[in-house]
Amino acid sequence: MLILALSCVAALLVIAALAVALGRAASATPIVYAASLAASLVLLVGALVRLVADPGQVSTLTLPIGLPGLGAHFRLDALAAFFLVVTNLGGSAASLYALGYGRHETAPRRVLPFFAAYLAGMNLVVLADDAFTFLLTWEFMSLTSWALVVAHHDEPGNARAGYIYLVMASFGTLALLLAFGLLAGPAGAYAFDAMRTAHPEPAVAAIALLLVLIGAGSKAGVVPLHVWLPLAHPAAPSHVSALMSGVMTKVAVYGFVRIVFDLIGDPPWWTSIIVLAFAGLTTVLGVLYALMQHDLKRLLAYHTVENIGIIYIGLGLAIAFQQNGIAWAAALALTAALFHVLNHSLFKSLLFFGAGAVLSATHERDMERLGGLIHRMPHTAVAFLIGCAAISALPPLNGFVSEWLTFQAILVSPQLPQWGLKLMVPAVGALLALSAALAATCFVKAFGITFLGRPRTRAAEAAQEVDRISLAVMFAFALLCFLAGVLPGVIIDRLGPVVHGLVGEMLPPQSGLAWLSIVPIAAGRSSYNGMILLIFLASSATLTAIFIHRFATRATRRSAIWDCGYPRLSPATEYTSSSFAMPIRRVFGSTVFAVREKLDMPGPGETRAAHFQVKVFDPAWRYAYGPLARAATKIADRLNPLQFLTIRRYLTLTFSALIVLLIVVAAWR
């Protein structure tokens, strides 16, 4: 299977080269996407078979490429197989979607080669088994996705998004490099196998964990390292946005899980407090920022930040439980996190595909210029609605199951002995509860403003339903959201071996339980049954409909909108995205966003139009990156004279630097 996976990855790289060779040929787009689809599907099926049939098996392979003497190590275990499934499910869906969507691409030569290479990069990260290969493929993944972000570099803002992405990606890789340096120890054992057996000291383990939190977190979008994400994800073509938000953030989560749970093994318990603090912050701030957006794709990208927060809450809890020896609870928290990884990759990809459909039908991303699309694009609307309901954690869909599991993990945490955790966990629980409610608001807004109401512009009025391939992909993912919601036991059982490999315990098998319900701890404690709930909902809705049709009149009349008797409504009177979010902005605005509202009202008798302007700031920019950038510029200015020295002075400088370093080394010893 590992050899098959690597051959598929090689095939993807060949496809990338082929895309370059095909150049301007009109057939390049379908060929590249079809070939990527085939490769991803083979990988998906292979990984699924491995995960279902033989999850315990570990296969390794060393290829004589890369660093001399080290070679490139690859390894396929249960964890890698699960993330291969997530990656290639998203990858094959994006490839298939692009068979339809990619036809509208204006610059396919800037997209096609990098698309296939990007897929290869993500798969390689999951398979890598030594630090060098991991970092190299991680960087490869970053660079290819950067190329896709700047594919439309002539659109305003995209070049800046690409620049910020590049800076943040390099910063993250640097943190990972340092973490691996610490874990490899003085002997420089860069193979993961050596790190697994090394058992670093607590202090080293803690620092390495924090570095990984920064390194992988900057790729996943943990606040305050999220700033690149809402700029870069929407800038790429929509199928790539789906991959970046739905899949690449999960590869980053994979990096965290692999290094923290597998390589470090035993980080001190207090590191979990730091992880939980950042996770809680990420969850609430992510959804609050998402609510403030009126660019559909940017809203989705900001909302990814929230979901990453939910995943990290599960991971933080898992560390806390594991270090306190409560392995079954660690298994519960980790299962919740991994389940949410799968769920988020499903509904976020679906929503980005929907946003792409809206974009290609109307050429608009700004929700304030859309509206009424449910009439023009009825099928896209249904799929998008299911995605919105799933991501808002509404039962009986899948988003609810993983949030429910996370809540269950929080509810067993009074068993944790440390006071720091006893105070941290309920706070995180409160933040999670807050974000769950805000997410529903966010997606009522996203769906309501975009698809409901009346069209606000000509473009929205003239929208046409998208092609069948795109629709098929969206409906397939909507179906998967449903299935994962009503049959969660199947997925929890597949996650069992993955979790067992990391924390040494797993949830009790679920699929044998009566009525297909899930019971994560004990039957008396908590249980959930999406299937029964769905049957209940469907049957009571049907009963109501039968009752209504039997006893009530069916007379229906179409008439003009009433609206308290106000005639001739212009679409300009509709609630917009900003007005919908206004109450939330008022409530959280002054503290979280530093909102500035400016009203320019003409005096009596003046005929000019009134102007109202709202500025919402991301405090991460204001308090972290702004000062940082200013300081960097200032230092650079100060150091500028160094560029204009004579050769004599340069030599003196070099020599004194050498002396200082030697003194440092001497003092160190």
């Binding site: 309501g448 109401g453 039957a523 109501t544 909108i561 009433w562 109450p583």
Partner: protein, 318 residues
Amino acid sequence: MALILDLLWQAMQMLLVVAVAPLLLGVTRKVKARLLRRRGPPLLQPYSDLWKLLHKEAVLATNASWLYRTAPYVIFAATWVAAALVPTYATGLLFSWSADLIAIVALIGTGRFALALAGMDVGTSFGGIGASREMLIASLAEPAMLLVVFTVALLAGTTQLSSIAAQMIDTPVGLRVSLALALFAFVFVAIAENGRIPIDNPATHLELTMVHEAMVLEYSGRHLAMIEAAAAVRLVLYCSLLACLFFPFGMATGDKTLAAVSLGLSSYLAKMLTFAVLLPIGETLVAKMRVFRYPVFLGGAFAAAALAVFLQFVSRGF
């Protein structure tokens, strides 16, 4: 045979919550009217109102979509199922384990999601304002509600309502600080979620103060009947939750003998009647708040519930 009997008990609960819902509304209206020295409508008026609405022609706006027509069914079904999963007269019904308290809160969320979307479907500013404010209230009330759930779940060691009620009856935990805080928060949340004074006024059609009524302004006929019925069932749902979590006495916990069930039923109805009398008394004592005071009201509930959860984490004794 046992299975059929179990199914019957479950069906009885489903019918019970729908059957008493308009009556509960009728009682609150009557009491409120008497407090305001009016005579008030007859107790059974809500039933006739619903029946009349069912037989009126439904007028749809020209641009109403399928979502507008299906949403009432979804809203009613979600609220009904959520209400039917709350133990009323007995614990341990056939399907009581299929959704726990967290799932019930989320189910209420499903209904609200559909309602807010339905309000935005036609594209009027009233629909928008209603949906926006409803979601604001929900964003503040739902987390408080979840924290109440946490408190109760931590006390009882389970999130299943049936087990919580059974445990509270069998081994009473006595008076607890955290339970008192949770009760306080729950009442605030229930008032907000049901659109009662001081958050929203169910009797108003004054343009800028309405929330729920603004959302359903365009609805008429059978669709409106279903939404009104869902609102009534939601009131029953919150009252049953209040009874089940904080005043579970009288419920049939063991075998469903005729005596136990009739005791459970009569105590349930007595509790509902008490709440239906207390609610309008509270409503007449306070004035409606303006919209941007909501965060203070619900923030108080959130803080109280969060404190209760903290106390539970700190010590089992609170």
